[in-house]
């Protein structure tokens, strides 16, 4: 009997030697005269175990990891093909606590399928959402997404259905769907995992968005740092066209849809939707003022849906199972699930898809296993480089848009970066300003000049120069950046700085009871 063995082709797995592992497995099987079916799948998102090898057995898939090419002969000797015992074995994959305690809706297929096999995709629930949508009125599709409570997973958290409603009711034609795949936040990788590992779910969601809003063409704006995603998306698009899923008659319906991938040029700001649209139009990626909203006047001045990868990848299951099914997960105004990305100093870095409401502490301790260094957690940054730093006292906050916002934090794109007690928070604050200075589009002055002045002020404070005066000036500068910037880059760059000042004043050489700036 041919035994099925799965080795991920995800970029994280590849960077840890998955290709060499796969080659070693093929060679060992040949030498043993054992016929195997070696499938390159997506990743489960358990990166500390990559390359993670799965063997199909009668009891389910048994996992081994991390498996290097050198480990392979030993694993074969231990009976890898039967799911045999070995120090690298983790038992039945689905039963592993890290996975078993998750609620994977958007990432339902992660690690299970060959990303480019449309048959695999359909076997695992693919295209059901699009089929159902095509049988509904476009407005009903929009309302299904409104009912799901889905909010933009790129960071802003704006209700996706409401955005669609605006585009759908805009009279101008043509309209566009643009996928923001410029995933640039530190410690985030859920977009990349979707695009490399389950491209059809994204493209299905995009077609649904097009049908619901009256758009017939889409663009995927992909960051240049994702070459694997580019190759996968282009191949997936070709397959969808060849199978009649994309094209003049989507799945045979009276609805035409097609899309193409455009690659960015390495600017963080192009993840901001209006700068993204400028870049897509072939211009310098500078932020536009709003209004007009992109939903009214977006790409080439036309009504445009701009959605993040994870937002759109969550749409097929919403259409398949209904908005209510999705909305049944979550808390408050944060409905559904969020693919949280654990990174930084954490023992088990990886993807945790959970309903909103899970606390930061649960995520870091129960899923992440604490710090990789074994030292105590000192600070956590949630939501990317512009998110506030939280200290121990705030780890029991639930992951919820409103709860985090109360503490000037944000869910953002769902990245959590953990730091142990060796972190220098003054340096982190300085870096936040430096990051803004490097990545600012240069249009508005609070961001363009303010970020550099902010870095300089923090450097002076740390050097002990005129501390009280420079501290006051830094707070005043943060106020100007927050309230006078054109977009969220300049407007939120002060958040990590102010939170670091509030919770870790000692790192700046400031007394612990320095005039409290309420964050």
């Amino acid at each position: 009997m041919t035994i099925k063995i799965c080795v991920p082709r995800d970029a994280a797995a590849l960077s840890l030697g998955a290709d060499a592992t796969a080659a070693a497995i093929a060679k060992a099987a040949r030498q043993a005269g054992q016929a195997i079916q070696l499938v390159r799948t997506s990743s489960r998102g358990m990166f500390w175990l990559e390359p993670f090898v799965e063997v199909e057995t009668a009891t389910g898939r048994v996992g081994y990891g991390p498996v290097t090419a050198e480990d392979v002969p030993g694993l074969f000797a231990a009976g890898l093909l039967r799911g045999g015992a070995h120090p690298l074995a983790h038992g039945v994959v689905e039963a592993m606590p890290f996975l078993a305690r998750q609620e994977r809706l958007t990432f339902a297929r992660a690690g299970l399928t060959d990303p480019l096999s449309l048959a695999d995709y359909e076997t695992h629930g693919g295209l059901r959402g699009l089929r159902r949508a095509l049988g509904m009125a476009p407005t009903a599709v929009v309302e299904e997404v409104v009912a799901s409570g889905l909010r933009g997973r790129g960071g802003a958290g704006f209700p996706t259905g409401i955005k669609w409603r605006t585009v759908a009711s805009a009279p101008a034609q043509p309209k566009y769907v643009v996928i923001n795949a410029d995933e640039g936040d530190s410690g985030t990788y859920s977009d990349r995992m979707v695009m490399e590992g389950d491209p059809y779910v994204l493209l299905e969601g995009m077609a649904i968005a097009g049908y619901a809003t009256g758009a017939s063409y889409g663009y995927i704006y992909l960051r240049s740092e994702y070459p694997h995603a580019l190759a996968v998306l282009n191949e997936a698009l070709a397959t969808l066209r060849a199978r009649g899923v994309y094209g003049r008659n989507v799945l045979g319906a009276d609805f035409a849809f097609d899309a193409e991938v455009r690659v960015g040029a390495g600017a963080y700001i192009c993840g901001e939707e209006t700068a993204l649209l400028e870049s897509l139009e072939g211009k310098r990626g500078m932020v536009r003022f709003k209004p007009p909203l992109p939903a009214i006047k977006g790409l080439f001045g036309q009504p445009t849906v701009v959605n993040n990868v994870v937002s759109l990848a969550s749409v097929p299951i919403i259409l398949d199972r209904g908005g209510k099914h999705y909305a049944d997960y979550g808390m408050g105004r944060s409905r559904g699930t969020l693919p949280i990305q654990l990174a930084g100093n954490v023992k088990r870095a990886g993807l945790v898809e959970k309903a909103f409401g899970v606390t930061l502490r649960q995520l870091i301790e129960d899923y992440g296993g604490g710090t990789r260094s074994g030292r105590p957690v000192r600070a956590v940054q949630v939501g990317g480089p512009l998110g506030a730093y939280f200290d121990q006292r705030l780890l029991d906050l639930p992951l919820d848009y409103e709860a985090l916002a109360q503490h000037k934090g944000m869910v953002g794109h769902g990245g959590i970066v953990v730091f142990d007690d060796t972190v220098d928070m003054a340096e982190q604050a300085r870096y936040a300003m430096e990051f803004c200075a490097v990545e600012s589009c240069g249009k508005c002055t609070p961001c363009r000049i303010g970020s550099t002045r902010g870095r300089e002020l923090i450097e002076k404070i740390v050097r002990g120069k005129d501390v009280a005066r420079n501290h006051r000036q830094l707070l005043a500068l943060c106020d100007v950046m927050e309230n006078a910037s054109l977009c969220a880059l300049g407007g939120m760059a002060p958040w990590p700085v102010l939170s670091a000042l509030q919770y870790f004043p000692g790192d700046f050489g400031l007394p612990a009871k320095e005039p409290a700036h309420v964050v």
Partner: protein, 243 residues
Amino acid sequence: MWSELRDLREGQDLGTPPRGGEPVALVVDGKPVTVPAGSSVMLAAAAGSCPVPKLCATDTLEAFGSCRVCLVEIQGRKGYPAACTTLVEPGMVVTTQSPRLHELRQGVVELYLSDFPQEDVPGGWSELHETLQQVGVASHPYGQGENHLQAPVDESNPYFLFDPAKCIVCSRCVRACEEIQGTFALTIQGRGFASQVAASQGERFLDSECVSCGACVQACPTQSLVEKSLFVGGYHRAQPPKA
């Protein structure tokens, strides 16, 4: 020289181009104002004799929203929208002067001054100087920091020169080149603090696609792009006072 330049200016700069829509009535600083639909709050404020300070806005160019000096408060809206990019709506209640707005504008203008030759602040005339007076700022609290004060002057064009030390990166020259002349010879190059006006691919003005039309010089609010004929005996940067 500066006073002659000032006198040459025609009428009032409304900040954004006039529009011809139906009349819209709103209230600016307690005064009723009626302007055509499609007008900016900035234009309405100017029409109501409550001019809002500005740098990147001028009524010969479309609104851009980069300088953040024209922030105002609008009843029922969050934050501090820019007057130049916000369109009037019937019944809108706008405040252009308040201690909070003053504080924010001052903070923004100080940032400009932190990368502007301090010697050129007193006694000069330009739209920047007018704005400095309007906002009531003549210096900044940041001390010596990274700056563009030593960036070389481009005197390659026979008619005008470009002194990047005085450039506030408002993009008025870039936009004038696009919107008025349609030449697209100018751009902004670099990101963040390194963003600078550049001709073509970072070439000298004379070697670029520039056709010497002068639209950029006319648009410049700081005399960073300025006619050479104003400088008898050649252009010299003001020297910082000896310490």
